[in-house]
């Protein structure tokens, strides 16, 4: 039957035809255009509207941006240079960028906040990229004290004394653990508190007298601009993490009293605007402290922001806990681990890993919310833009400052949200 064809059909093609070019409308840019932009009347309409919007935006902003002045000492000079034409006056950024970034931080010390920021990434890297050696975590633990010293300066013994408190606590725990477990926990809490209250002060003063090491002290009212946003945002989020974990655990606890306290706290904080908490920090905190006590406004704001963020953090961690399969809890129980061991070794490492995107998103939100400190008179970027506009040179400038501030926020937040997306995708892969 192999020759059937030869008998029935006169001619059979036994080679492939050479490929011909697809029709003009079915290839290249045209096809892409047709399929992506003009595939129907609705799509065509949308495309035209979108093009119109882009065109309008370009026409409105383009000439203004292209015609910008970068070198001038004041808005008046800018206007003279432009001579009636529309144009941006980015000279204000050139003139004042250091204020928008660092506030009134002494100019010769700019390397300190910059170094602190660079080291932050080093400290974060073992958390962000699990492939790095675990030993880097030691640096992460040291970092808060280092950053404090870099930013504020003063005697080097103060942060060392504070850090030693944790060492004392750990030593007390290890020492007392042989005697009694419960005692060890008490010791671990009590010993550092005693250290800080009683011994840290003398330690600081004696060591400073013996070895007066330290960087130049910078008062916190010299802080401003993005420096203040970053300091508040980063310390708020890192301090709120442990608090948030405790709140989340408390909310899941069987102990009805602990649970209700946590729920009330979380719902209260989430129910009021941040601005009222900031006003509490600036106007009311002094009412709640012993008469005559007051401490630094930035510290008060950090405390309030920490409380604020911890409520949101608690919800994020709770989500992480809920997402964990029940089997994990049961496996921990089956291994005979007690509550804290189970949390430390089994539950939290997994729950926190799931929560990282949520934590990053909370941080982005918090970082953006640090702009609200302008309402209590802290000179964050917006506050400084007001101060700059109040000077005789730059009175009347507006858009350039907001564009610069917005751009910086955008770069920062966009970067972080990309990272959080990357994490989410990675987590999805891990779970498959």
């Amino acid at each position: 039957m192999s020759d059937t064809h030869s008998n029935t059909v006169a001619y059979v093609r036994d080679t492939m035809l050479p490929q011909t070019e697809p029709p003009l409308t079915e290839k290249g840019a045209l096809k892409w255009l047709r399929e992506n932009l003009f595939s129907g009347w609705l799509n065509t309409g949308l495309t035209l509207i979108a093009l119109f919007i882009i065109w309008q935006a370009l026409m409105a902003v383009g000439p203004w941006l292209l015609n910008s002045v970068w070198n001038a000492g004041s808005l008046r000079e800018c206007r003279d240079i432009l001579d009636g034409a529309t144009g941006a006056c980015f000279a204000v950024i050139v003139d004042r960028w250091h204020q928008l970034l660092f506030g009134f931080y002494p100019r010769h010390l700019y390397w300190r906040p910059v170094l602190a920021l660079v080291l932050l990434f080093v400290a974060l890297s073992p958390v962000l990229f699990p492939s790095l050696p675990r030993r880097l975590l030691t640096f992460t633990a040291i970092y808060p004290f280092l950053a404090y010293h870099l930013l504020w300066g003063g005697s080097v013994w103060l942060p060392i004394g504070a850090a030693l408190g944790f060492v004392v606590g750990a030593l007390a725990y290890i020492g007392l653990k042989r005697v009694n477990n419960l005692l060890a926990v008490f010791g671990a809490v009590l010993a550092p508190v005693l250290w800080w209250l009683v011994l840290a002060g003398p330690f600081d003063s004696t060591m400073s007298a013996v070895l007066p090491w330290g960087l130049e002290f910078v008062r916190s009212d010299r802080f401003g601009g993005f420096l203040i946003s970053l300091v508040i945002g980063i310390s708020g989020i890192s301090l709120s993490l442990p608090l948030g974990i405790l709140l989340a655990l408390g909310r899941q606890s069987d102990m009805i009293f602990i649970k209700s306290v946590c729920v009330v706290f979380i719902e209260f904080i989430r129910g009021v605007p941040l601005i009222t908490l900031l006003f509490t920090a600036s106007l009311l905190l002094n009412f709640f402290l012993p008469p005559g006590t007051s401490f630094d406004l930035i510290l008060r704001v950090i405390i309030m922001v920490t409380l604020f963020a911890s409520a949101y953090m608690a919800e994020v961690v709770r989500g992480g806990l809920a997402a964990l399969p029940k089997g994990q809890y049961e496996a921990a129980d089956a291994l005979g681990l007690d509550y804290w061991k189970a949390q430390r070794l089994i539950i939290m490492p997994q729950a926190l890993k799931i929560s990282i995107p949520g934590i990053v998103n909370t941080f982005i939100g918090l970082f953006k919310d640090t702009t609200l400190v302008v309402f209590i008179g802290l000179l964050d970027p917006i506050g400084l833009s007001n101060a700059i506009r109040a000077s005789t040179d730059w009175n009347g400038i507006y858009w350039e400052l907001f564009i610069f501030i917005g751009l910086l926020f955008f770069i920062f937040c966009f970067g972080m949200s990309r990272y959080s997306l990357y994490l989410e995708r990675k987590l999805k892969r891990d779970h498959r």
């Binding site: 004042r96 404090y148 504070a162 008062r219 012993p290 000077s391 009347g396």
Partner: protein, 339 residues
């Protein structure tokens, strides 16, 4: 009774600005090594940081004079920028030692909020600024106008009273800061910008073409501005009050920043001698040393010099002395006798 509060952070001891105690304000200031002065968040001429973050201005200059009187260093001041909303709480809570931020001396602030005003360093009044091409010549023609106003100030209350009493209507546009108010006014979002005449003048001076704007003749309120301290520390109140007096007295007596060093050697005018600490030992009575006033004057000049350098003839703002001239020159500035 020294109380310490465990703040729970490693930073506590360093960041704690003033731990509680029964120390007098002066002792606290000396211990701290600097004066903390509540200032404006940014008002040209009165108090604003320059490009290097150094605070400049009339109210700022007064704080520098106090710092010079205490420390012999006019730069030993840190300035806490306060909005009109946060200023009184900051003073009441002890966050600042003195509030020098164009604050009007009123009954409620003095009695109910419990502050002491150390005197008046600027006699002001609330006025209105309009664009010249609007063709308005009097505040009585403002019926139906849109008015930009800073919230949380006495001007807000005066404005409401003024329009109600005169049976006119208006549309208030409340704004948070002076910079914002100017922006709104320049953009035409309001017809009228109202605030203290001094601030109006300083704003007007900073506009691109000041002649396009008119400050209307009506002054609708009395706004005596002055530095304020908390109730409860009379010695501190005296220091602030008499530093102000010393600056005014120096102008009355012809003591300037140039000749103060020479006059402090001794002169044949007894009041100058008492002022500059050659006679009388007045500084010691305040808890300072006797050259306190001489140092304050050397640092910022007498009242007239301070005025001229920050908001008067020698500055871009160019305010007239007007009511703030010395009493002898037909104004209202008058120092109590140093005796």
């Amino acid at each position: 009774m020294k109380k310490t509060v465990f703040v729970g952070t490693f930073a506590a001891t360093a960041l704690v600005a003033g731990l509680a105690n029964a120390q007098s304000t002066l002792e606290q200031v000396i211990d701290r090594g600097e004066l903390i002065c509540g200032s404006n968040t940014g008002q040209v001429g009165f108090g604003a940081p320059d490009a290097d973050g150094v605070w400049q201005g009339f109210d700022v200059g007064f704080c520098r004079a106090v710092a010079a009187a205490i420390f012999d260093d006019p730069m030993a001041v840190s300035f806490v920028p306060l909005t009109s909303q946060t200023r009184f709480s900051a003073l009441a809570s002890g966050e600042v030692d003195v509030l020098s931020r164009n604050t009007t001396w009123t009954f409620v602030r003095d009695v109910d909020l419990q502050f002491n005003f150390a005197g008046i360093n600027y006699y002001d009044g609330q006025g209105f600024m309009v664009k010249s091409d609007l063709g308005v010549g009097s505040a009585m023609e403002l019926d139906g106008a849109t008015v930009c106003i800073e919230t949380g100030t006495t001007t807000e209350l005066n404005l409401a009273d003024f329009f109600r009493v005169n049976g006119m209507s208006y549309e208030p546009v409340p704004v948070d800061t002076a910079a914002e108010a100017q922006q709104q006014y320049l953009a035409g979002a309001c017809d009228v910008y109202t605030t203290d005449v001094s601030a109006l003048a300083s704003s007007r001076a900073s506009f691109a073409t000041p002649s396009d704007h008119t400050i209307l003749p009506e002054v609708v309120s009395k706004e005596p501005l002055g530095p304020a301290v908390r109730h409860g520390d009379d010695n501190w109140y005296d220091i602030i009050k008499w530093t102000l007096m010393a600056l005014v007295a120096a102008e009355e007596l012809g003591v300037t920043s140039e000749n103060v060093a020479e006059l402090a050697e001794g002169s044949d005018v007894p009041e100058i001698n008492r002022l500059l600490g050659v006679e009388g030992g007045f500084g010691a009575m305040l808890g300072l040393d006797n050259e306190w006033a001489a140092r304050a004057i050397a640092a910022v000049g007498n009242y007239g010099e301070l005025f001229a350098n920050t908001i008067g003839d020698n500055s871009p703002i160019g305010l007239e002395r007007g009511m703030n001239a010395l009493f002898a020159d037909g104004g209202m500035m008058y120092a109590m006798p140093f005796r």
